[in-house]
């Protein structure tokens, strides 16, 4: 069976950063209704792998393909279908949470303010909608970033340490959102240090030294 045709596939990707050989032939497959948990000690290239997968970084060797086509040839169309959350929340401090969402999500798809507000509500930060991002706590910013991922309606989620700065309830919420995304036919690639307690088709990729 060819697992590449209906999802994401990474084949023997090598990346050097200067003299360091960061990714040494990493391969993975990720289809719909699947979650891939990428783990490993610090500095083993988890974030680098995520940047390669979303097309920000071109690997020196190897191939990343989406629905059977190399992402290098359909980069813009491919990037329109994914939602990436980097380890920093990527919010403009001078804009309100709602404006941040409107300007980021509005480039991907037509979206109404009510939809954005309901996404903020689902991540538990509806009260912060009209506050500038600079006054929000680190955990609240993380939740706003998560609301942005939700609002993008993307089929592929690429999340870098989504549990950082979240309290217990926030971590449960995050797990719940991931679970419902995967159950509704989405795919997710999650970089996280600790074990994920999510009841879906989950596989693990350990980028050991």
């Amino acid at each position: 069976m060819n697992a590449t045709a209906d999802g994401l596939s990474v084949e023997k990707v090598h990346v050097w950063r200067g003299d360091r050989h960061v990714l040494k032939g990493v391969s993975l497959n990720l289809g719909p209704r699947q979650l891939l948990h990428v783990s490993g000690p610090n500095g083993t290239g988890k974030t680098t792998l995520l940047r390669v997968v979303c097309g920000l970084l071109r690997p020196e060797q190897g191939l990343v393909s989406w629905l059977g086509t190399s992402i290098a040839s359909v980069r813009t169309e491919y990037q329109a279908t994914l939602a990436y959350a980097s380890h920093e929340p990527a919010l403009k401090a001078d804009l309100t949470a709602l404006e941040n969402l409107r300007f980021a999500v509005g480039l991907k798809r037509r979206v109404t303010v009510d939809e954005l507000r309901s996404c903020l509500e689902r991540t538990g930060v509806a009260v912060c909608a009209d506050l500038p991002a600079r006054v929000l706590s680190a955990g609240q910013r993380r939740r706003v970033a998560m609301a942005r991922v939700l609002a993008m309606n993307a089929s592929l989620w690429l999340l870098d340490e989504p549990f950082t700065n979240l309290d217990g309830a926030g971590a449960d919420l995050m797990s719940g959102l991931l679970q419902s995304h995967v159950e509704q036919g989405g795919a997710a690639l999650v970089v996280a240090h600790h074990d994920l307690k999510i009841d879906v088709d989950m596989r693990r990729l350990d980028l050991g030294p």
């Binding site: 071109r58 329109a80 480039l107």
Partner: protein, 226 residues
């Protein structure tokens, strides 16, 4: 469901303007710099209106170039620092469109604003009112060209910590033709001679950079994003 290019362009321009007006200090800095530098020149020269009038085009243009350069550094840097540049790059709209929209918005709040205050400076430097139209047109074309050149430089230096010095070193030599023809056009307008030739040349430079610089800036930015 998908967002068209024009709509996305409008959204990025609105985002940039919104951000600029939230930080009025950064908005006013280049303008105040422009006003102060041009006011310092008459103070340092002898009080001869004829001498001042001879020097006015050069003073005006050098001050305009330097004040435009002041804000160029922040064109991509603030977005790169907080991670929003990655989100923009992954928006599925193509990085070139984002670069064009950001540079255009940057010109609106720096170059266009500078053109609007230039009559005040012109009056202070003794430029006759009859030359204002040519002066403003040449400044408009010149600052727009400079914004495009600056976008390439800003894209190349966005990953550096002290990139603004390097940015000046990259952009200022490229801006020399602007200074020559811009100051030339203003000078001719002051003496009452037709400045069409110089204006055409400025327009040609503007079209040249408008069409090619976005692609160069996109490539530069993509390299620094990696």
């Amino acid at each position: 469901m998908n967002v068209g290019a024009l709509e996305a362009f409008g959204l990025v321009v609105r985002r940039e303007l919104c951000l600029s007006f939230r930080r009025p200090d950064q908005l006013l800095q280049p303008l105040v710099f422009f006003l102060i530098v041009t006011t310092l020149f008459p103070l340092g020269l002898s009080l001869q209106l004829s001498l001042l009038r001879d020097m006015a085009p050069g003073v005006l243009w050098v001050a305009a170039l330097l004040s435009s350069l002041l804000s160029l550094d922040a064109l991509f840097k603030s977005d790169a620092d907080d991670g929003t540049l990655e989100q923009l790059a992954l928006s599925g709209q193509g990085l070139t469109l984002i670069v064009v929209a950001k540079t255009f918005a940057h010109w609106l709040v720096t170059g266009a604003a500078l053109v609007l205050v230039s009559p005040i400076v012109g009056t202070a430097l003794g430029i006759p009112g009859s030359a204002f139209a040519t002066m403003m047109l040449s400044l408009g074309l010149g600052t727009l060209t400079l914004s495009w050149l600056g976008a390439i430089g800003a894209g190349l230096t966005v990953g550096l910590r002290r990139g603004n010095v390097l940015l000046s070193l990259i952009v200022l030599p490229l801006a020399m033709p602007l200074l020559i023809f811009g100051a030339g056009a203003t000078d001719r307008a002051i003496s009452g001679v037709s400045a069409t030739g110089a204006l055409y040349f400025l327009a040609a430079l503007c079209v040249f950079t408008c069409t090619l610089a976005p692609f160069a800036a996109t490539v530069a930015l993509r390299i620094t994003l990696e």
